[in-house]
Assembly symmetry: C2
Homo-oligomer: 122 residues x 2
Amino acid sequence: MRHLLLVAHGSRREASNEEVRQLAASLAPRAQGRFDAVSCAFLEIAAPSIPEGIDAAVRSGAGEVVVLPYFLSAGRHVAEDIPREVEAKQHEYPRVRIQVTPYLGLAGGVAEILLSLADARG
Amino acid sequence: MRHLLLVAHGSRREASNEEVRQLAASLAPRAQGRFDAVSCAFLEIAAPSIPEGIDAAVRSGAGEVVVLPYFLSAGRHVAEDIPREVEAKQHEYPRVRIQVTPYLGLAGGVAEILLSLADARG
């Protein structure tokens, strides 16, 4: 089983965390055939944490977990904190393949989305 | 003249601010015909600030400024801080049309980009 784990920063504003949970839920049906499950986790403040999110994925039978940083820039969180937490879990679950993708901000399509947003209002 | 102003949070990590500046620069040629100029500004920490970014756009001849929040969630910054700063500048420049677009996280295409990132690594 393959599991997609969307990882966001986490906010003191619960509505922002809820947005991330809804985004993860909205990805699930579109990811069918590629991922058996989609969930989210938070680096700080909100629950579940990244270790908790990976634990839950493994408990539900994931043999592969793809961690996707929902971040716009490569700050310390993306460069150090997320890899460190993932690496610790990889040691704990040596038979599960856990990978981290590039963060959202790095994706080529972001520029096109920005221009679409700008056009809609321009 | 129409000006697109990409507004990011601003980071203590200068490389993150530089990424935003490069993104704005990369948008400029693609925005041709729709926007005459593209620049960026930061809500906190980095320069230029939002007022400074709008000032510069108006000084360079913009009759319309489209402010695009480069944010993933609608926290206080997107809901209150950016509109407040824009509104103050709108009062200062009544002849310039200044608009704020929805923030990036709200754009429909983000889900597709996330799935593409996940697929590339899956």
